[in-house]
């Protein structure tokens, strides 16, 4: 009797979990985006205009997003990874080709960015650029006694305990490799070993390894230097005028985050409707004003009223800055593991 009960409950549980999968998911779109990366109002507006409910989840790192999409436990319709991660997802056959008939607003995206997106997505078959930016140092002018223009500052013992390092493997190694004069897409074991040694030497100087938290900590004056994405710079400067953003002279990373549709999505049309909505100039502008990450949407940029921001060197850096920046490329599973292992080793006392 008892055994029978246990077995039957287990079976019931299994049956219940399968029943959940069979449910029809009409009129919903499952979005997986970076944290703090969209005006929440936009989601409500999209729901009102299209009647499609937005189910929204957030991630903090590309590396965290990938296994979830790959495993397909949630089956997202729209995801917003960065360049090198999109390349990896294309390589592994995880993405569905976009039907541009459903995304007419693509015309608003500046061709310059579509062209740079071809570096990781040849022919723009799988992705539509959403935001772009650089990686740099945000520093508090009252806490440093010299103009900061080099990655050297975040490896300088002078600022021990005043440094917020980015907790993201490609960015950390990108910085170290660039500072050492190597390519930020290096696959050389010796170069990576050198970069790891540099990052390990930095460990005692670092106050904390953070991603999204860097913003509030810098605004609050917790640290003198923080590695940050350019999009956060406008917002943080608005909140604390002592802060200044710089793309170091040694060079840095320029990145594009773009919307993609996983092959295991639930509803491709809804996903395309969502992407199309994001490319609407009014919506892109609304998002830009909320998250302050540079928009590749030409029509939206022209609508920016504040001249300080429209021509902001932080949001829209000039050629000379961009010329010293490079994009990350996907380096293959083996090198990726090597990066991850070295990063874990670097973050140890």
């Amino acid at each position: 009797m008892k055994k029978w009960l246990i077995v039957s409950t287990l079976l019931l549980l299994l049956a219940a979990s399968f029943a959940g999968c069979a449910k029809n998911n009409k009129e919903k779109v499952y979005v997986y985006n970076w944290g703090e990366y969209m005006d929440p109002e936009v989601r409500v507006m999209f729901e009102k205009e299209t009647g499609i409910e937005v189910v929204y989840d957030e991630f903090e790192q590309n590396e965290e997003m990938f296994p979830k999409v790959e495993a397909g436990a949630v089956r997202y319709d729209v995801v917003c990874p960065s360049d090198y991660m999109i390349q990896k997802m294309i390589d592994e056959g995880l993405l569905a080709e976009l039907n541009y008939d459903n995304i007419p607003n693509i015309k608003n995206i500046d061709p310059v960015y579509l062209k740079s997106a071809e570096e990781f997505d040849p022919g723009n078959k799988y992705s539509v650029p959403y935001c772009w930016g650089t990686l740099g140092i945000l520093y508090n002018k009252t806490m440093v006694d010299e103009p900061i223009d080099s990655w050297g500052a975040i490896f300088d013992e002078k600022y021990s305990g005043d440094i917020l390092m980015i907790d993201s493997v490609r960015d950390a190694f990108g910085i170290a490799l660039t500072y050492l004069g190597y390519d930020l897409n290096s696959t050389s074991v010796t170069e990576l070993e050198e970069a790891k040694a540099l990052l390990k030497a930095q460990y005692p100087l670092v106050q904390a390894y953070v991603v999204d938290q860097v913003r509030d900590k810098m605004i609050g004056g917790e640290a003198a230097l923080g590695v940050i994405y350019s999009g956060e710079a406008i917002y943080t400067k608005r909140e604390n005028s002592d802060l200044e953003y710089v793309v170091p002279k040694e060079g840095s990373n320029v990145w594009i985050d773009a919307w993609v549709i996983p092959k295991n999505c639930r509803n491709k049309e809804n996903a395309e409707a969502f992407i199309n909505y994001m490319c609407d100039p009014e919506i892109a502008l609304k998002n830009f004003e909320y998250i302050t990450y540079s928009t590749p949407n030409k029509a939206a940029r022209e609508m920016i009223t504040d001249p300080d921001i429209k021509d902001s060197p932080v949001a829209f850096p000039d050629e000379s800055v961009l010329n010293r920046c490079k994009t990350y490329r996907y380096l293959g599973a083996e090198i990726e593991t090597l990066y991850n292992d070295k990063w874990n080793e670097a973050k140890m006392e």
């Binding site: 409950t9 549980l13 590396e63 965290e64 106050q207 904390a208 900590k217």
Partner: protein, 295 residues
């Protein structure tokens, strides 16, 4: 894992106490069905999955590679550090909680339920929020340092140190030490203590020979309920350690976050073994108390 050890205990004790009412119990077994269902779905099944993933590769072939990951210098250090910090936290909790429980036991019934409520009160607020609040208190420009600088004392660097993590552990888990000890103490028959005093024992002797041994079951469950969550935590170390201090919980969490569920499960299994060992050591000192041991 911790659920199994913690949840089993009251159940066993109940059986022991109610042994002679077995007739009555039989009729009411069906009442335990909801819990059995719960246990099957959310404890047994996940455990089986962890064991399965822990001893297989991604392709399903058997391996012990995942278990051996613990010998990797990074993981070994993380485990040792986690053991160290959770041990310190448990000892601090015990030293704080035992006298408190003794005092609570001595004062009158009315005010004492009030004090118990005060102890539980922080738990009305979410654990994560409380830990983030500690981050704001301990930060360089945080509440504590502002207060200290007002008093003319230099800023203290507490955040992102092992000390901050211990503080977070003690703060969050202290009620789990106080309550079991208190519950055992109030059940000690006053007559036994009075008898000891009548027979000439002074208060120190009464404490050491009577109260302490009788309260051992409470101490043991308190230690279990503090040590195990402290050993496995990754939230406290992330928030109060600034991701600079990596505990075994962080390593496991990272493995799962990066999609390496076999590696994560393997390390979890090793951690479970360590928990079982420590429980075995603890329960050695608990022979008199019936039912408290998990063996």
């Amino acid at each position: 894992m911790k659920d199994v050890t913690q949840v089993n205990k009251p159940a066993k004790r109940l059986n022991g106490e109610a042994g002679h009412h077995s007739l009555k119990i039989k009729k009411t077994t069906w009442l335990s069905m909801p819990y059995l269902l719960w246990m099957a779905g959310f404890i047994i099944l996940p455990l089986i999955l962890i064991v399965y993933y822990g001893i297989t590769t991604e392709d399903g072939a058997a391996t012990i590679k995942n278990l051996l990951l613990i010998s990797d210098p990074i993981n070994r250090r993380a485990l040792l550090l986690a053991l160290e910090l959770s041990l310190i936290s448990t000892i601090i909790c015990l030293l704080l909680a035992y006298p408190l429980a003794l005092i609570l036991n001595k004062i009158k019934m009315k005010s004492n339920s009030f004090i118990v409520m005060i102890i539980i009160l922080p738990m009305w607020m979410n654990f994560l929020l409380r830990t983030i609040a500690w981050q704001n208190i301990l930060e360089r420009t945080g509440v504590l340092n502002k207060l200290l600088s007002f008093l003319g004392i230099g800023p203290l660097n507490i955040i992102n140190t092992p000390g901050a993590i211990i503080l977070g552990m003690v703060y969050n888990f202290l009620p789990f030490m106080v309550l079991p000890i208190y519950n055992v103490l109030i059940k000690i028959d006053r007559d036994i203590i009075n008898a000891a005093r009548d027979l000439g024992a002074n208060s120190m002797q009464t404490f050491i020979k009577i109260i302490l041994p009788l309260s051992l079951p409470g101490i043991i469950s308190g230690i279990t309920m503090v040590f195990v969550p402290a050993l496995t935590t990754f939230v406290i170390s992330t928030i109060l350690g600034g991701s600079k201090i990596v505990l075994i919980g962080n390593v496991i969490e990272q493995q799962f976050r990066l999609g390496n569920r076999n590696e994560g499960s393997g390390l979890s299994l090793v951690l479970m073994i360590f928990i079982l060992i420590s429980m075995a050591i603890v329960s050695k000192y608990d022979k008199e108390s019936e039912g408290s041991s998990i063996w």
